[in-house]
Amino acid sequence: MKLVLKIWRQQNGNSEGKIVDYMLDDVSPDMSFLEMLDVLNEKLIAKNEEPVAFDHDCREGICGACSLIINGVPHGPEKATTTCQLHMRKFNDGEEIVIEPWRASAFPVIKDLVVDRSSFDRIIQKGGFITANTGNAQDGNTLPISKIDADASMDAAACIGCGACVAACKNGSASLFVAAKLSHLGLLPQGQPERGSRVLAMVMQMDEEGFGSCTNTYDCEAACPKEISVKNIARMNRDFFKASLFGV
């Protein structure tokens, strides 16, 4: 396959960026999207040009490091698939592909396609945990948890923290990310003692980081590679109002 790549290049956080065009021949349909970028980078290095910087690591859809807006869509065209798992057979010979970084004010660009997502970490640090020091625990089976609750919690816990939900949202809201963590812990009996304080602390930090608010357009759910449901946002809102009105 032959491709025309239009890639966002930006030297660093302080400089202006722009789209630069690259032609790439000999793309195999069996390549992953990132392998296609590897090939481009090898060509750039051979020409003494700087390769395109992008975040990635596991390349199997679980670490949440990869990102990229591909033709306007976070993680590209394939449903429930991260960029690293997307393969070139989903594209056509001769196609033009626009590749940009996550765009959100809470995710500043560091270089090219690499953005800073440490705001997510800071939200978790405010309350995305259960206070259980090492050694505190009693036998795991003393706390039966219905399979239904455990499975629902697991579905929310599947979030990989990639930030596609934020990138997809016209308001740059992190609601789906935050709500997924709140549901993961709030659906389990272990998570109950801190349920109220957790939602207040995390939502407050989300606002402080400059994420926008949720206006229920559901683009986040559509973009989520792990298909996290927007129902979690409803649960978060309910918990938030309950905690703010009636205390934690």
């Binding site: 296609m36 990635h56 690591d57 490091a65 429930a80 800073d116 970490d121 020091n133 795991g140 948890i145």
Partner: protein, 638 residues
């Protein structure tokens, strides 16, 4: 000259850890905050250690080269975590988990460590449940288990096919709580480039900030490395792209003994290579072997599609050779059997390096829905990568480097041969011997981090009473200068070949000459070629960009430079271990029917290598291993 004192407590193996815990020195709670500890790496072992130590009151400085601690590659572990809970009433016990792990490791692990691991395994599950890890449950609400490669009891706990992710997020949440509380200072996107010793003790590290390029030093009272394994020496592996040997190798160069580097695990169920562009290999969970049957055509060069090969012309070679374990035979055995079939010209798929993993029988017996419920996400992943539908035609799989049992040598307290330098998780060599059983890596990482290091580090600090040092100490300045010089040197070469091309060439060489099967000749060939390749690298590599900003080529080049030295160490170790055991298979040493042939008389020891300067052959030391409880026997899975 390094000395190896394993510090194994006396007494029966079942009582060693309890006795040791009773005897270790403690640090008064009010004094803990006077100590600073450095933790490098935030996978299961590193996050668990950093969180637990901070809970105890220590000041922790924690480092990761990722943009967030949650990205560490522990996150990708699929299958599960073992624990000797015996919830299934199927005869499991701490003793049995201990026994299975020693036997599975082909009698090359230290009994005392393995017993302790089996003991703490039960606490790990409890801790994870308390943190909110959503383990799979039965309808009654109790924890579910499954059986997993190489075990005859059901002792594996799991969270769908994402157990590593959930356990890591549990440890990450505990770590995040401490970061929020200010007891852990977290350094993201900072890569360790060197270890700093002051008066023979590990007292700090030098790092490069991957965004600003700044080279900095950090001082501490002790250093903990939890930086994972080195399977990327093979270039193609199931490890994440950034996994590397740099931290432990640089510590090795500063005097830490490196144990058993030749014990590398090749995982039997990975998706085969699709072409030269391949950048990594993807594991398909071993749990697939519970319901999939592995086969190749009986005839060489049979190119018919799978569904046109009649039952009588298929060779279900694992079931044939190992009737009692069949498709669930341990990883090393299953991998080697696949290689043999392919080397014999009976491999399937493009290039002939693949074997079938066939679900047709299970779908017929259990229904497609049941199979979808068990493995749906894995089947989807397979289809996404290969474009083939495994409900319709069998999967193709082939072995790939996955885990490394070797690592820095540590004593019973997880301390390396450098006082103050502690090593946890995959980065150390301690618990898996020559082969790791499925679902045991997560157990070891968390065991080391949650339940071992919090005890043993206190003992070290209380016993040593070293003077405070700061980063103004000349040793720090010297290490900083060296790190800066190396970075500059890489940038100045301005040769013709990319770092990746060197990494790929090294990987191919290692896979060919020192992969699933090794011979004296192949190893000697590798040992001849590696120094040449290294010399070419330092002469002809091209690293673009500058050192003062985010520069991924530079990061990669530094890691590959270390792999190019480390590969030699791995080959020396493989060459001198003249036996076959676990993940180390020397073709010269096999039984008549092709099984690994150990040589207990000569090699019942851990080989511990001491660095002897660049271009000098490292010095081999031995820690003799004794088996007082699980008696040396030939592993048999027939």
């Amino acid at each position: 000259m390094i000395t190896l004192d394993s510090k194994i407590p006396s007494g029966p193996v079942t009582e060693k850890w309890d006795k040791h815990r009773a005897e270790m020195k403690l640090i008064n709670p009010a004094n803990k905050r006077k100590y600073t500890l450095i933790v490098v790496g935030t996978g299961l072992a590193g996050s668990a250690a950093a969180a637990s130590l901070a809970e105890l009151g220590y000041n922790v400085e924690c480092f990761t080269f990722h943009d967030s601690p949650r990205r560490a590659h522990s996150i990708a572990a699929q299958g599960g975590i073992n624990a000797a809970k015996n919830y299934q009433n199927d005869g499991d016990s701490i003793w049995r988990l201990f026994y299975d792990t020693v036997k599975g490791g082909d009698f090359r692990a230290r009994e005392a460590n393995v017993y302790r691991l089996a003991q703490v395994s039960v606490n790990i599950i409890d801790q994870c449940v308390a943190q909110g890890v959503p383990f799979a449950r039965e309808y009654g609400g109790y924890l579910a288990n499954r059986s997993f490669g190489g075990a005859q009891v059901s002792r594996t706990f799991y969270a769908k096919g994402q157990t590593g992710q959930q356990l890591l997020l549990g440890a990450y949440s505990a770590l995040s709580r401490q970061i929020g509380a200010g007891t852990v200072k977290m350094h993201n996107r900072k890569e360790m480039l060197d270890l700093v010793l002051v008066e023979g003790h590990a007292r700090g590290i030098v790092t490069r900030d991957l965004v600003s390029g700044k080279i900095e030093s950090f001082a501490a009272d002790a250093v903990i490395l939890a930086t994972g394994g080195y399977a990327n020496v093979f270039y193609l592996s199931t490890n994440a792209k950034a996994c590397n040997v740099t931290s432990i190798y640089r510590a090795h160069k500063k005097g830490a003994g490196f144990a058993n580097p030749c014990y590398t695990q090749i995982h039997p169920t990975c998706i085969p290579v699709s072409g030269d562009h391949q950048s990594k290999l993807t594991l398909m969970s071993e749990s697939l072997r519970n319901d999939g049957r592995i086969w190749v055509p009986k005839a060489k060069g049979d190119k018919r599609p799978a569904d046109q090969i009649p039952e009588s012309e298929r060779d279900y070679y694992l079931e044939r050779k190992y009737p009692s374990f069949g498709n669930l035979s341990p990883r090393d055995i299953a991998s080697r059997a696949a290689k043999e079939a392919c080397d014999d010209g009976r491999g399937v798929g493009p290039g002939g390096y693949g074997v079938y993993l066939d679900f047709a029988d299970s779908i017929h017996r259990l229904s497609e829905e049941t199979i979808a419920e068990r493995y749906g996400n894995l089947f989807e992943m397979y289809e996404r990568i290969t474009g083939e539908n495994p409900y319709k035609s069998p999967m193709r799989i082939y072995p790939a480097p996955h885990y490394t049992m070797g690592g820095l040598w540590v004593d019973y307290n997880l301390m390396s041969t450098i006082p103050g330098l502690h090593v946890l998780g995959e980065a150390n060599f301690s618990d898996h011997g020559a082969n790791r059983l499925g679902a045991s890596a997560l157990m070891q990482g968390l065991g080391d981090g949650y339940f071992v290091i919090p005890y043993t580090i206190g003992h070290y600090l209380a016993s040593e009473k070293t003077a405070k040092v700061t980063t103004d100490h000349p040793e720090f300045k010297k290490a900083e200068q060296e790190a800066t010089a190396q970075t500059q040197r890489l940038l100045n070469i301005n040769g013709k070949r990319s770092t990746n091309s060197f990494h790929r060439e090294l990987g191919l060489l290692m896979w060919d000459k020192c992969g699933m099967a090794r011979t004296e000749q192949s190893l000697k060939e590798a040992l001849k070629r590696i120094p040449e390749l290294r010399e070419e690298f330092w002469r002809d590599v091209k690293v673009t960009g500058v050192g003062e900003e985010l520069n991924q080529s530079l990061e990669h080049a530094g890691r590959v430079a270390d792999f190019l030295e480390f590969a030699e160490l791995l080959c020396y170790d493989a060459l001198e271990r003249e036996e076959s055991c676990g993940g180390h298979f020397r073709s010269e040493y096999q039984t008549e029917d092709g099984e690994a042939l150990r040589n207990d008389e000569k090699f019942c020891h851990a080989a511990v290598w001491e660095y002897a300067g660049s271009n000098n052959k490292p010095i081999r030391h031995k820690e003799e291993l004794t088996f007082d409880n699980v008696h040396l026997a030939t592993r048999s899975y027939k």
